[in-house]
């Protein structure tokens, strides 16, 4: 990086952020720290949704614009299971399983016949998202659903400086970190993970090496979709489920992935952290334009690093 640009970034971004941090801590340390924690926990949720999106995109170049619908589907199925069995953990499992199953079906019956036709695949996912949203509205209506998680994760935890903090949001942070680690282990330490990474780098070579690319694709799509369904239950517990959440998380994962770099799981984590923190600080300190902050970050990244922070040139 040329010297000028390094100074440009330090002066243009680093100094204002540092000043703001000092001011925030002096002015109201509790608010500042709570907001930072809120930002991180929201980022954890965004990461859960976006990691599946970026995984699928990285391997298959499939911009799955029905990813948000899978989130909502997992959430509703999870709710039904949780309501019938009374077990939140079963609900989480059902959320993952249902979305993963739908993902698997989609990959094997639709997308595998459109190999390499990226735009058509994307158009199909748009059509599916419109239809899924309407079918879910048809079945579940416009009511608001909330999960009933075990008491022990739904109380408050005393923390230094911020006094008390919702336990569930900390649990969310832990779940997200665990998923991140698991995903890393899966991609870096297992045979399938190795194939997926190889596929991200060069699909043609992977196939030529004698790997059954179709089954690798199917597994990846199922995991990616399953992560969306999983996030549906976990996120639905933190907030609530209602029509419209699909678009919200679809957009969140789009922005996270654009910022973090498309196809990179680590990039998704960084992107999610940036977006989540920016959104929460926006809500606390400039509520009117909180949503716009997110997009300012995106525009900055696009202007100076079009491939995303950790993305590679296509």
């Amino acid at each position: 990086m040329p010297r000028f640009w390094r100074w440009f970034w330090v002066v243009g971004l680093g100094v204002p952020i540092a000043l703001f941090t000092v001011w925030g801590l002096v002015d109201n340390a509790k608010l500042f720290l709570t907001t930072a924690l809120n930002g991180l926990t929201l980022a954890a949720l965004y990461f859960l949704v976006a990691s599946g999106f970026t995984l699928v995109f990285g391997l298959m170049r499939n911009v799955n614009l029905a990813h948000g619908s899978l989130y909502l589907l997992g959430a509703y199925v999870g709710y039904v299971v949780g309501d019938k069995t009374g077990s939140w953990l079963l609900a989480v499992a059902a959320g993952f399983a249902s979305a993963a199953l739908l993902g698997l079906v989609l990959q094997t019956t639709v997308f595998r016949f459109m190999q390499g036709q990226d735009l058509r695949q994307t158009l199909v996912t748009i059509a599916l998202s419109i239809m899924l949203a309407d079918v879910l509205l048809w079945i579940f209506g416009g009511e608001i659903y909330q999960f009933d998680p075990p008491r022990w994760i739904f109380g408050r935890t005393p923390l230094p400086l911020v006094q008390v903090y919702p336990t569930y949001r900390l649990v969310l942070l832990a779940i997200s970190a665990a998923i991140g680690v698991l995903l890393w282990l899966f991609l870096n330490r297992t045979r399938v993970g190795m194939m997926i990474r190889a596929g991200v780098d060069d699909r043609g070579m992977l196939a030529a090496a004698g790997v059954n690319v179709q089954s690798v694709f199917a597994i990846t799509f199922a995991i990616g979709a399953g992560l969306a369904g999983f996030a549906g239950v976990v996120g639905g517990t933190a907030l609530s489920i209602a029509p419209g959440e699909d678009t919200r998380y679809q957009l969140a994962s789009l922005v996270v992935v654009i910022v973090g770099g498309m196809g990179s799981v680590v990039g998704a984590a960084i992107g999610a952290a940036l977006i989540g923190v920016a959104e929460q600080f926006g809500l606390a300190y400039a509520p009117t334009y909180s949503v716009v902050f997110t997009f300012v970050i995106m525009a900055l990244v696009l202007a100076f690093r079009p491939q995303g922070l950790l993305g590679r040139r296509a």
């Binding site: 199909v124 419109i130 048809w138 992935v257 997110t294 079009p306």
Partner: protein, 389 residues
């Protein structure tokens, strides 16, 4: 992946339907040969009639029929059909045309074309007269000029942002930009009047004609739709359009030939921005209002649906798509429950994408090819019977 691969992806299945490519992109040899042949046969034809011949060579009976039909339409249809079906379809078709131009010929699928149209609408509402104090009340022609200029500049900016990455990313980036604009107008009260937007936006009266009355509005929209259509057709044959299509098919080769790929793409966004801006002004006159809902996610996607529905292989596609879309929007309620309108439009979109990537035009072309094959076989059969062969 490169744009060329992506383009291939878009073209997959084209061989089956065999839709004739535009002359510029791949000059149809048969037509060119016929042209030369005719020219040689009548070499003594004078210069003055060359234009007539040119028109005669291109204009077919079906073109004249369509033109007569759209011109006579308001005389036959009730005002509701003139305004809400005809006028709205033409205005929406114009916005979708800008997407067809970008996607079909530039290889860049932008979901932000409705945003550009919305910017034009908002700017018109701000500079001209509406029911809100924010509006400046300037003369309508000045407001129109400013709105078109600002929207086109915004279109160029969006293009500049999105051409920095390639191919399939465009759709994500433009979607994100479009939604950012939606949130901005919903939250900003000092300029965009927030959630309410601008209500009762005044439509100009020109020479005593209220432009929002069904018949004047229809002809106004028709004029601009035809202007947009012919502008796009002209551009595609002009050097710029040919270069653009070359860039769509193989940007690297075009760069090697000395073409500035980025500049051509941004210029395409400028053209598309202007077309969408005109459509946006028509829409704000049509609705008499502009609100965050006019630039929300559903409208961004609807423009894509219209363009894909009609077919992106010919500039007439978006207008056909718009007519079908508007008819569905108005009369789906009489067929299925209006509550399930989204399911219906989603299913139709899915069917089109799955079975006819070239939209309704693809079906038309496929049907025509089949028909020709059938009739040719029939003729052959007769010839055999009569012993001519």
């Amino acid at each position: 992946m490169s744009a060329s691969e992506w383009r291939k992806a878009m073209n997959a299945g084209a061989g089956r339907t065999a839709w004739p490519r535009t002359a510029a992109a791949a000059p149809a040899p048969s037509r060119a040969a016929r042209w030369r042949g005719r020219g040689a046969a009548s070499a003594d034809v004078r210069d003055e009639t060359r234009w007539l011949r040119w028109i005669g060579g291109r204009v077919r009976a079906r073109h004249v029929l369509v033109l007569l039909a759209v011109l006579a339409y308001p005389l036959l249809a009730p005002p509701f059909f003139t305004f809400q079906i005809g006028g709205q379809a033409l205005a929406l078709g114009l916005i979708a045309l800008s997407l067809t131009f970008l996607a079909g010929y530039g290889g860049m699928v932008s979901l932000a074309q409705m945003t550009v149209a919305g910017i034009a609408g908002y700017m018109y509402a701000i500079f001209a007269t509406s029911g809100t104090d924010i509006s400046l009340g300037w003369p309508w022609w000045l407001a129109v000029f400013l709105a078109l200029a600002i929207a086109t500049v915004c279109g160029i900016l969006i293009g500049w942002f999105s051409v920095r990455t390639e191919g399939i990313y465009t759709i994500m980036i433009t979607l994100a930009i479009g939604v950012a604009f939606f949130y901005l107008v919903q939250q900003n009260y000092s300029v965009f009047n927030g959630f309410q937007g601008f209500q009762s936006v005044k439509t100009p009266r020109v020479l005593g004609v209220e432009l929002r009355d069904p018949v004047p509005f229809y002809y106004l929209a028709l004029f601009w739709a035809l202007a947009g259509y012919f502008a796009v057709k002209y551009l595609l044959r002009a050097p710029f359009g040919v270069a653009l299509q070359g860039i769509r098919d193989n940007p690297r080769r075009m760069a090697a030939l000395g073409f500035n790929v980025t500049a051509h793409r941004v210029a395409a966004y400028a053209v598309a921005g202007l077309i969408a801006a005109v459509g946006g002004i028509l829409m704000v006159w049509y609705n008499g209002l502009v609100s965050p809902g006019s630039v929300g996610t559903s409208w961004l996607i609807n423009i894509l649906i219209i363009a894909v529905l009609g077919g992106m292989r010919h500039p007439i596609g978006p207008f056909i798509g718009a007519i079908v879309f508007v008819l569905l929007q108005n009369f789906a309620v009489d067929l299925v429950d209006r509550e399930r309108f989204n399911l219906l439009i989603g299913a139709i979109f899915l069917i089109i994408v799955l079975f006819s990537p070239d939209g309704l035009l693809g079906w038309w072309a496929g049907g025509a090819v089949r028909l020709r094959a059938v009739s040719a076989r029939g003729r052959l059969g007769r010839r055999v019977e009569t012993g001519e062969a």
